[in-house]
Symmetry: C2
Subunit: 115 residues, 2 copies
DNA sequence: AAACATTATCGTAATATTGCAATATTATAA
DNA sequence: TTATAATATTGCAATATTACGATAATGTTT
């Protein structure tokens, strides 16, 4: 007879710092090729686009809508309703946060003998 | 009667570029607070550590071992066997890649009226 | 008002992830 | 050689994620 923990399958966030959870939430949101493709597209067209994404990314409309929600919840993109379309664009500040976080790590690694 | 696709639940990687998949794999690996905490720890101690991680992160040994594997598979860390311990340390080049990727996005966003 | 266009939500199926006990593996120490 | 120590693997339960059809919601057009 085995006893299993109540939070089997869930992430144990309570043990980590706010900062660590913040970075994890944002990077997790980037962690899907469709979402990376959406970001690339938003950067490329340099414009606020709505349903155009549908033509460029070969996934069904509800799936893309879901991915957009993940990106928006992580503050990676902003979305503004414009009539019956939605204007989506990149949220620069979150990318700056990521750039600084990763840049800081890259420039602070001290090389050890073993690696 | 509903018909469901064979790849229900799986990520449709074939539609995206190698670059997009690469970024997604790496960021996905960062997308867990325990793994962010492991990276923070490796940076802080500036040394190659093995089982010390167990004392600092409140998760069971198999769970940590699994997280380390995820980080290693994404080339975020390197692991070298040293006797009966393993030397884990940060893989600088992957963090440079991320730093550049996000830095490039942050510095190339052109602000639109709508957002 | 009715039709149309755009986006979001719901429901559901399939797979993936998380976490840990138990156990295996491998190297060092006694 | 037999512990002991450190790490990996296996197996499994619980939850999360992904994808999409159907449908709802909302604004625009005719």
């Amino acid at each position: 007879m085995q006893y299993y923990n109540e939070d089997m399958g869930t992430t144990k966030t309570e043990h980590f710092t706010e900062r660590q959870s913040e970075i994890a939430v944002i990077t997790k949101a980037m962690g899907h090729p469709a979402r990376v493709a959406i970001i690339d597209l938003l950067l490329k067209v340099n414009a606020c686009i709505g349903n155009d994404i549908l033509e460029k990314i070969p996934l069904a409309q509800p799936t893309i809508s879901q991915h957009l929600k993940v990106l928006k919840d992580a503050n990676l993109i902003k979305g503004t309703i414009e009539g019956n379309t939605v204007c989506y664009c990149i949220n620069e500040s979150t990318f700056e946060l990521l750039s600084k976080y990763f840049g800081n790590i890259a420039s602070n690694v001290i090389h050890q003998d073993c690696c």
